[in-house]
């Protein structure tokens, strides 16, 4: 297992356990080693002491080679049950006695070790000289059974190992408890960091457990999280702003492009219409002038008629040019905003249009209109156009009904002008506001075809919209909105 990749909890446990194990094992080994040596030394000393005492006691018996006496002395060794074998020898090597008495006599001399003692095959063999007055008069040989001693050592070792295992068990429990005190906060910190990085939630805070290095670390971490959170929020806000700005910009570009395209198209149609519509009176003028040239001598009466025709065409053309000038001025003149009551403007318009209402039966239904912050001159132009149209296209009716009012519309209040005139086919509704676009013959209803185009331009300049709905022979309604219209009254 790679220690570097191991969880910190395991690492800490390993460190504690390894240290404890080494300390305990070394201590135990030292104890056992010491015990083995000390025990062995004590055993040898004890055995030698017994051997020496026995040898001293048996000196007379050996001296007189008294086998019975020797036997008696050796028989006292039965008090020490670990003695397996004992033998007394006279000076000439003759066996005087052995213990136990039943031991094989023949084998005994061969057992006498040369050294003072020897530990071999589970027995401790000791030989001591029997002395009298500093003279060696014989020898004593003793053989001790070491198995009880070994048993004791084994038991001791087993006990030490049991204590060692028990201590390690306790160490494991303690280390488990201790390492949790250290690894717990670290793990929690790591978990918090992981949570933050995966969920991008910077409001999470790590719990602080103490005022140690980990505690300081936790504080720093939390502080850092706060900073990141604030920065992140600022960044996100900026991004949002940027996105809104972008969207707005895009919208504006789209809008502008559409506007530009519309203007372009309008301009093209306008150029075509202008040339076409201006061409018509010119052709009349040319035609009548030619006839006039030929006929002026023959029929002066007819010539006057032709002249009046020519004048009519010229006037017609003059009107056309005037209207065009008005239309183009709308685009060029700067708007002068002021707050006015729309009803006042309507009243002005009606006064101006008095001549056109001569010999007409018209029922006016004019509601209370709101005030508006607009260029009053231009708005008057709009109302003049729409109201005069209503008067014009209700001419075939015995009683004209013209209604002016307000209605709720998308983005505020719309003004509408409704009539019970000839109306128009909704099929051509899209052509209504084009320059020189006329839905009726000039013979039926006079007009240049520039009026509604001018109206639309003014409405657009005021940030409003104009639309119409109608039914053929049942009347038409024009609706428009202006950004400057105050809240509905």
């Amino acid at each position: 297992m790679n220690l570097n990749d191991a969880p910190i909890r395991k690492k800490l446990t390993w460190v504690i356990m390894l240290t404890s194990t080494v300390v305990l094992v070394v201590t135990a080994a030292a104890f056992i080693t010491y015990e083995v040596f000390a025990f062995r030394q004590a055993l040898v000393q004890n055995s030698q002491a017994i051997a020496q005492i026995t040898a001293a006691q048996s000196s007379a018996a050996v001296s007189f080679e008294d086998e019975k006496g020797c036997q008696e002395i050796l028989s006292k060794l039965q008090a020490e049950p670990t003695i397996l074998l004992a033998a007394l020898y006279a000076k000439d090597g003759k066996l005087l006695a052995c213990y136990p008495a039943s031991a094989s006599v023949v084998s005994l001399p061969a057992r006498l070790p040369a050294r003072e003692y020897a530990i071999e095959h589970g027995t401790l063999n000791i030989s001591v000289p029997v002395r009298q007055d500093n003279k060696t008069i014989g020898a004593l040989y003793l053989e001790w059974d070491l198995s009880p001693a070994y048993r004791r050592l084994r038991w001791y070792t087993g006990m030490v190992i049991a204590v060692l295992i028990g201590s390690l068990g306790i160490a494991l429990v303690i280390s488990n408890w201790l390492q949790r005190r250290i690894s717990g906060p670290i793990l929690e910190l790591a978990e918090t960091a992981g949570k933050v990085s995966s969920s991008r939630d910077y409001s999470v805070r790590a719990k602080k457990y103490g005022d140690d290095e980990l505690g300081h670390f936790t504080d720093s971490f939390n502080h850092m999280l706060g900073q990141i959170g604030r920065q992140d929020e600022a960044l996100r806000k900026n991004e949002e702003q940027l996105r809104t700005l972008n969207t707005e910009l895009e919208d504006r570009v789209t809008h502008r492009t559409a506007e530009l395209a519309a203007t372009n198209q309008e301009l093209e149609a306008f150029a075509y219409s202008v040339s076409h519509d201006l061409r018509a009176p010119l052709r009349h003028i040319d035609g009548f002038a030619q006839i006039l040239e030929e006929e002026i001598q023959k029929d002066p009466q007819a010539a006057r008629r032709y002249l009046s025709r020519i004048r009519m065409s010229v006037q017609n053309m003059g009107r056309l040019v005037d209207d065009l000038l008005k239309l183009s001025r709308v685009g060029r003149v700067e708007l002068k905003f002021e707050t006015v009551r729309l009803n006042a403007i309507v009243d002005e318009v009606l006064a101006d249009l008095k001549p056109e209402m001569a010999n007409r039966a018209i029922e006016w239904r004019i509601a209370k209109l709101p005030s508006a912050t607009v260029d009053s001159g231009l708005v008057k132009q709009v109302l003049t156009n729409l109201i005069s149209n209503a008067i014009k296209y209700t001419r075939p009716r015995a009683l004209s009904v013209i209604e002016i009012g307000t209605e709720p519309a998308e983005g505020g209040t719309a003004i509408f002008i409704r009539d019970n005139g000839v109306g128009f086919n909704m099929k051509y509704a899209n052509k209504l506001f084009g320059v020189f676009q006329r839905l009726h013959r000039t013979e039926d209803f006079e007009g240049t075809g520039v009026g509604l185009a001018t109206v639309q331009r003014i409405i657009r300049l005021h940030g409003g919209k104009i639309w119409a709905d109608a039914e053929l022979d049942k009347g038409a309604t024009f609706h428009f909105t202006l950004k400057g219209i105050a809240a509905p009254v």
Binding site: A60, G69, D92, A114, R115
Partner: protein, 187 residues
């Protein structure tokens, strides 16, 4: 079982045999009764303590006296020769009369003196002398150590009362081997 270093073992036994050979250099065949008794007599000395008053001086010899017909011959002299016990050289003297006895620590009373044993013991009364004899009933009659032969082996009886009277300290180790007797209460 242990097979020990054979050369070391040989050396040990060789040393023992050499020492024995010096002791009984001219012994040939099985030892005779008096050869054994001579050895015993000298060995006895090692297990007995005399008060210092028993010696004239610290370096005085320890005298083994033989009273009566000497049946040891040269054997006793050979055994005693060179023996030093507690700083006292062991020498052998022979007496014909109890009156000659002086400065003697051990006295072997030969069987020839059996007839007037009582007078001898009476004469020795109060002296720190270890009396040894093979006269029958010796220890019962006030003697201290009596040798007796049994199955060609020497045994001995010790009269501890007599030893006490003689102011002698006999080693318990020796007493363990001996047949202990007391003064005959009937006499």
């Amino acid at each position: 079982m242990a097979i020990l270093n054979s050369t070391a073992r040989c050396r040990f036994w060789g040393a023992l045999l050499f020492a024995l050979g010096v002791l009984i250099s001219d012994a040939q065949g099985p030892p005779t009764e008096f050869e054994i008794k001579a050895v015993y007599l000298v060995k006895f000395v090692q297990f007995v303590d005399w008060p210092s008053s028993a010696f004239a001086a610290a370096e005085s010899p320890l005298v083994i006296g033989v009273l009566g017909t000497d049946r040891f011959g040269r054997v006793l002299d050979d055994v005693a020769n060179g023996e030093v016990i507690n700083g006292h050289r062991v020498i052998v003297r022979r007496y014909r009369n109890v009156k000659e006895i002086e400065g003697t620590q051990v006295l072997f009373i030969a069987t020839s003196e059996a007839a007037h044993l009582h007078s001898i013991l009476a004469a020795l009364k109060g002296q720190t002398i270890l009396t040894v004899s093979d006269i029958e009933g010796f220890s019962y009659n006030g003697g201290i150590v009596r040798f007796l032969m049994e199955n060609n082996k020497v045994h001995f009886c010790i009269n501890v009362d007599a030893a006490k009277r003689a102011n002698l300290q006999i080693s318990s180790k020796l007493l363990q081997l001996a047949e202990i007797v007391h003064d005959d209460p009937g006499k």
